[in-house]
């Protein structure tokens, strides 16, 4: 509270550490009388300098090293790095090896989306501080959530050895591929998971959503034949559709004082929106009939512009991920070799995949011995920072008469719409509302 508040409306709300997000961050909101002066999302996650110590490492080490940027979405890093190196060396992973990579990515989407839907975001809508307290009134929902999440992790474990920082992914493919039998054990749980994911869409669509729509620039990957997960062009609803090698021409990074995560804006424009809502807006047609039908029943149009409804979009994507996983498992034929052999070649290459939170971009330059000369890695949360700030700038003014505590919780919820992963982006949250 503002202790010397002479003006009647002078208030000062402080939250030092935003919860239910991955990593460390804070929010500073400045309000003077009835005016919102400024919103700053502060990311104070200590920098770990991955791009610096990757220099001098061997190209084959990039997947395992960059996995350690984030414990929640290691596949995004492992695969983005692998694709970039394969791009440099002129190799393309196809057939069943590509399908297995898509399968493990479905596992990551399921594990991460379910964690966010039920454990991090649903408590906001239902008014609980966390999922464990929520479990007292909604035991079945939380138990289902844990089982769903576990299935995502099982996919990761069967294919990758463990759920956090899998050990079985490498440039060119895998160290060892599963037998048909090893994958087939997943089928029954995947079928249960699909049914429960369908019920999840129905459940979250009954939540109350604030009336809040924005005209976003949605940026996602677009693939001609499938709902893009690991490959595609970079597409925006404001007029570009380019290969990922042009990422740096369109998404411009800048270093701002209040964040250890670099901000991003679109060349000549404002921030952009990455993640489930962006993918959904661009790739709706490529969802399965079940996922499309569920989205319709849940009241989502072909484009959803209300970030609070991202929880429904995440649930729809979870259904999709279960269907994809089942398809891949049921059609699996064990490939002859676990990986394509690769020889290093000097050059620069690009990799971008759809992490659960949006595009995760990698660019590397290596020499002809395969030693990394330069690395650039951009996480989706870092890119979304600006859009989160913009959202709050629009969201708060209509809610200034709320009591501090309520306003604070609603701001937190608005931030959690983005499922921010701050460990990733530092390269997240403490909240202060300063009313002058």
């Amino acid at each position: 509270m503002n202790k010397n508040g002479k003006t009647k409306k002078a208030r000062n709300i402080k939250v030092d550490y935003l919860a239910r997000v991955e990593g460390e961050g804070a929010l500073h909101v400045k309000i003077k009388a009835d005016d919102l002066l400024d919103v700053k999302l502060k990311i104070f996650e200590p920098p770990r300098f991955f791009e610096a110590f990757l220099r001098g490492r061997k190209y084959t080490e990039a997947p395992d090293i960059t996995a350690r940027i984030c414990g929640i979405c290691p596949i995004a890093y492992m695969l983005g790095a692998s694709h970039a190196m394969e791009d440099i060396c002129g190799v393309k992973v196809t057939g069943q090896l590509r399908e297995l990579r898509r399968l493990i990515y479905c596992g990551e989407w399921i594990e991460s989306h379910v964690l966010h839907i039920y454990m991090l975001h649903a408590p906001d809508f239902l008014g609980y501080e966390d999922a464990i307290r929520m479990a007292k009134d909604f035991p079945e929902a939380v138990e289902n959530a844990l089982r769903l999440k576990k299935i995502g992790n099982q996919i990761m474990t069967v294919l990758g050895g463990r759920e956090i920082h899998p050990i079985n992914m490498k440039i060119g493919g895998f160290y060892r591929v599963p037998t048909k039998k090893e994958l087939a054990v997943l089928v029954d749980e995947l079928k249960w998971g699909l049914e429960t994911a369908i019920a999840t869409v129905k459940l979250v669509s009954t939540f109350d959503f604030p009336d809040f729509e924005q005209d976003y620039e949605f940026v996602a990957l677009k693939h001609p034949n499938e709902y893009a997960i690991a490959e595609g062009n970079l597409i925006s609803n404001k007029g570009f559709n380019v290969p990922i090698s042009q990422y740096d021409d369109y998404l411009i990074e800048e270093h701002v004082e209040h964040s250890t995560a670099l901000h991003t804006h679109i060349q000549g424009r404002d921030g952009c929106f990455l993640g489930p809502m962006a993918r959904y807006a661009h790739n709706f047609k490529q969802l399965t009939p079940t996922a499309k039908q569920l989205a319709k029943e849940a009241g989502l149009g072909k484009v959803c512009k209300n970030p609070f409804k991202s929880i429904i979009v995440r649930a729809v994507e979870t259904v999709y991920a279960f269907e994809e996983a089942l398809r891949i498992v049921q059609n699996y034929e064990q490939p002859d070799k676990p990986a394509i052999e690769i020889e290093p070649k000097a050059g620069t290459g690009y990799g971008a995949t759809e992490a659960p939170r949006g595009i995760c971009y990698h660019r590397y330059t290596i020499d002809d011995e395969g030693i990394i000369q330069d690395a650039k890695i951009v996480s989706p949360t870092a890119v979304n920072q600006k859009t989160i700030e913009n959202d709050l700038m629009s969201f708060i003014p209509a809610r200034l008469d709320l009591p501090d505590e309520k306003l604070q919780w609603q701001c937190e919820q608005a931030i959690r719409n983005y499922d921010p992963c701050i460990s990733c982006s530092t390269h997240f949250l403490k909240l202060t509302v300063d009313r002058q």
């Binding site: 300098f49 791009e51 110590f53 350690r68 929640i72 290691p74 463990r162 390269h427």
Partner: protein, 257 residues
Amino acid sequence: MAAKKPKLAVWKFASCDGCQLSLLDCEDELLAVAGAVEIANFPEASRAIIKGPYDVSLVEGSVTTPHDAERIHKVRRASKFLISIGACATAGGIQALRNFSDVNEFVSIVYASPQYISTLKQSTPISEHVFVDFELRGCPIDKGQLLEVINALLNERKPNIPTHSLCLDCKRQGLPCVMVSQGTPCLGPITQAGCGVLCPAFDRGCYGCFGPMESPNGKALIEKWQEMGADDAEVLRSLRTFNACANAFEKESRKYE
């Protein structure tokens, strides 16, 4: 009223969040754990913060900023038992690679305005700053081992966490040695067990997530690697990953600089 439940707190320093995620990944046991302890401070999972002191603190991450170097003392003062979890907290983590370089150069590679960044020259384990009651290894930790440690503390017994080599567990599981059968360099002989022998079971050499075992013979292992054709650069890189600053790994790696 029933006896008060012990309070559990989770703290984060420089890390990837993977180790604390291991707790949320205990899908089968999470509600039981939440029944046995009061989760009093776990920001990744809850916005409710209950004041200390805490009976058990799990600390993830390494110390890399002046602010964190002070914060860890507050955590220690508020905790009866302090357990550091994961390679970041027990050895400095992958971010300790800065300890072999000039951190200012690192800052300028990543950030356009280095003056905004406050960071320490070294990434250091928790035990370098405060007394640690137990160190749980791994990058990430094994969730079975985490549950064992929490269980042991709740029952006031010593955690049963072996410190022998991965090699021993690998042989017990009857897996063919990847060095003998494939000529693949493996850190198993000098790395502490605990992961469940993952890499050799997937036809790859161990890369040292759990740090050095109790009595590692690095010299003998590296000689073997050299016979298999590994050069100094490869040896150096292999010893310098997530546990680069764990004592035995660091000492051995210096020979190949």
